[in-house]
């Protein structure tokens, strides 16, 4: 299909007044929730899923587009003003952004982050629109064994390759895979890990898991160590606007950040962490003002913020074309699709082009709305940050449980929510990453059914995995990605011994 025609058609859908309103509500709610300390974009999407239960799929996905970008923008506001990045992707922003806010340059820091996000988001969404049809063409040639191999790559890269500890990352992934087994097996109707509890036959809800791990777990963790931390909000002093100098120092980092963020996000490698830190270190190296780094250099905000947003749009490429979520936020978006029985992938492009292209077009609109809305509304967001911590977390928990109560008001489901909260607390305390659990839960069952389909076609011969060149290549990539961190760690130890 001609991308321009498809995109124009999507635009026509997205600018219908009702859909514009959905996008506006999404952007507003996404920012308002995302700005709360400790709430990252994945949790923002999970918390706001119930709001969209009653909408039609089109409107709901358009609202998601707004929530997705809004949550991201809210996260960077928090990172800049109170140095509490809601997620690892905002950590690089907090480094320089908080210093700028302390030095009374919070306004320009927020402005360069908003405009950088807009530039990066727009370029990356154009990339998404033009890259997707090609990937869809490739994806339709994928057999089940190729899909399985691709998911193996995603499993490994999300959990082992880029984290602090491959062992802890893989442990998280396997907890997620275990949870994914719960319920009725789709191919044979046999119950697994249900222990005779009827509520478990439907499996573990992704939203219950995500809200439990992220919201309840975070509340428990912050409460458990509230004596150790003191948050201080930096007031936005001085002008909100960037000076000519700020613009001159920002535009190149925006473009470089986009160049890092989009390709890395689009690869099934997961996470916006790498591109943001790559961008940060690049800007640090290229800047004309190295003495300002660590004290509030605007390049250190502009680059990572652009990289963050570009990679967020990038992760939508594997999500929409292959149905492959590579971050916790993308996993939540996939859950949003699934609640309407929609499975992203090449088929969705063929069957519901209006939906897919409407969503892509909405990303442009959400991005523009954020730029127009958020700088003037920054005072409102700052006021949200001033809610006293006890009420803030009490409110977050009320809202978090409300989602579960609305979806399934059963004692079992709520107990699971509480249980996942305890799990999330322990994982935070012992430094296990959380995203691999969510990705494992949502991707595990899909990977299993692809593998079983492949083996059924080959009459049970496992060599089918190696006979398809695509699958063989991908499995080798997965193996390298699995072994590499261990070898690199060994090398590091070797070097450390030599010193």
């Amino acid at each position: 299909m001609d991308t321009f025609a498809a995109l124009a058609h999507g635009m026509a859908i997205a600018v219908q007044p009702m859909n514009l309103l959905y996008a506006l509500i999404g952007v507003f709610l996404g920012t308002a929730v995302g700005v709360l300390p400790g709430i990252g974009p994945a949790l923002t999407v999970a918390l706001l899923l119930p709001v969209t239960y009653k909408l039609d799929p089109g409107g709901s996905l358009i609202m998601f587009a707004g929530i997705y970008y809004g949550g991201m923008y809210g996260g960077s506001t928090t990172a800049i003003l109170i140095n509490t990045p809601g997620e690892s992707a905002s950590m690089a922003t907090a480094l320089e952004g908080y210093k700028m806010a302390k030095a009374g340059r919070g306004g320009p820091a927020l402005a360069t982050s908003a405009i950088g996000s807009f530039v990066a988001g727009t370029i990356a969404t154009i990339g998404l629109a033009f890259l997707s049809p090609y990937l869809v063409d490739i994806a339709v040639r994928f057999g089940p064994e190729d899909y399985f191999a691709l998911m193996c790559v995603a499993f490994v890269t999300v959990s082992a390759t880029f984290g602090d500890s491959p062992v802890r990352g893989l442990t998280s992934l396997f907890i997620g895979l275990t949870l994914g087994l719960v319920g009725i097996d789709k191919l044979t109707g046999q119950a697994r890990l249900a222990f005779g509890v009827p509520e478990l036959l439907d499996g573990v809800e992704v939203t219950t898991l995500a809200v439990g791990l992220f919201a309840v777990g975070e509340a428990l963790y912050v409460a458990s160590r509230r004596h150790h931390t003191e948050e201080k909000i930096e007031a936005v002093k001085g002008s909100l606007w960037m000076t000519r100098e700020d613009w001159k120092r920002s535009w190149k980092p925006w473009l470089r950040g986009t160049a890092f963020g989009f390709p890395i996000g689009a690869l099934p490698a997961g996470g916006a962490e790498i591109p943001t830190f790559l961008s940060y270190s690049t800007e640090k190296r290229l800047t004309k003002y190295p003495e300002q780094f660590g004290k509030g250099a605007i390049e250190g905000v502009a680059g990572p913020e652009a990289a963050n947003n570009a990679s967020a749009a990038g992760t939508l490429v594997p999500l929409l074309t292959l149905g492959l979520p590579t971050s916790a936020t993308a996993a939540m978006m996939l859950a949003g699709f699934q609640q309407y029985g929609l499975n992203p992938g090449p088929l969705l492009f063929a069957e519901r082009p209006d939906l897919v292209w409407g969503l892509i077009a909405s990303l442009f609109i959400a991005n523009t709305m954020l730029l127009v809305l958020n700088l003037p509304l920054v005072g409102l967001w700052v006021r949200l940050l001033k809610i006293p911590t006890p009420w803030l977390y009490a409110g977050i928990l009320v809202f978090a449980t409300m989602g579960t109560i609305a979806a399934k008001p059963s004692v079992v489901e709520l107990s699971m929510l509480a249980g996942f909260g305890v799990l999330g607390f322990l994982m935070r305390r012992f430094d296990f990453p959380i995203a691999p659990v969510v990705v494992g839960l949502i991707l595990g069952p899909i990977a299993e059914s692809q593998l079983r389909r492949a083996l059924a076609i080959s009459l049970g011969d496992p060599m089918t995995l190696l006979q398809s060149p695509i699958s063989a290549t991908l499995l080798v990539v997965a193996l390298i990605a699995l072994i590499a961190p261990f070898i690199l760690k060994g090398l590091g130890r070797f070097k450390a011994n030599e010193d």
């Binding site: 097996d185 911590t389 809202f399 004692v411």
Partner: protein, 163 residues
């Protein structure tokens, strides 16, 4: 929850007891998986049946339990600060209250207000009356917005029927 001195322990020293518990839990989950997989009646079909994947994941968990055990024995776990058990227990008590109230038909407002008050107490507030009023107003507004405006069905109890 174990109690440690506040972040004083440098990494790579001594055996980490909590780490050994984690390894033990992972091994236990692996055993449950294998046990559960054996309960599934074997169905003859081409390829793999529903009992294969649980066993594969159990093997993975077993290996990871071992790896976690090695990390724990070497003391390779990241350092952690002391935790306040009272705060954690208060929030868990709030969740238990919420589940009980929903279970016995007490309704959304009562249940979530209880959670609101206990959570804010966990964060150090002692002014229960104020928190009770704020919680009740907030949850009533949420109830009205979601149940009446967005027509999600939230469980109704005595308070909801008055609205």
């Amino acid at each position: 929850m174990t109690t440690e001195s506040a972040g004083a322990e440098p990494p790579s020293r001594g055996i980490d007891k909590a780490g050994i518990v984690i390894a033990g839990l992972l091994a236990a989950v692996a055993l449950v998986l294998v046990y559960d997989a054996n309960q599934i009646p074997a169905t003859t079909m081409y390829g793999m049946g529903p009992q294969v994947m649980p066993v594969v994941i159990a093997i993975g968990l077993g290996i990871l339990a071992l790896a976690n055990l090695i990390d724990a024995v070497r003391g390779n776990l990241p350092p952690r600060e002391s935790a306040d058990p009272v705060a954690v227990l208060l929030i868990l008590a709030g969740l238990a209250l919420l589940i009980a109230i929903i279970g016995f038909g007490g309704g959304f407002i009562l249940a979530t207000t209880a959670l609101f008050v206990t959570t804010s107490a966990a964060f150090g507030r002692r002014d229960f009356v104020t928190d009770l009023v704020i919680g009740a107003v907030l949850t009533t507004l949420i109830y009205l917005a979601f149940d009446r405006l967005l027509t999600l069905s939230l469980p109704a109890g005595p308070l909801e029927r008055l609205l």
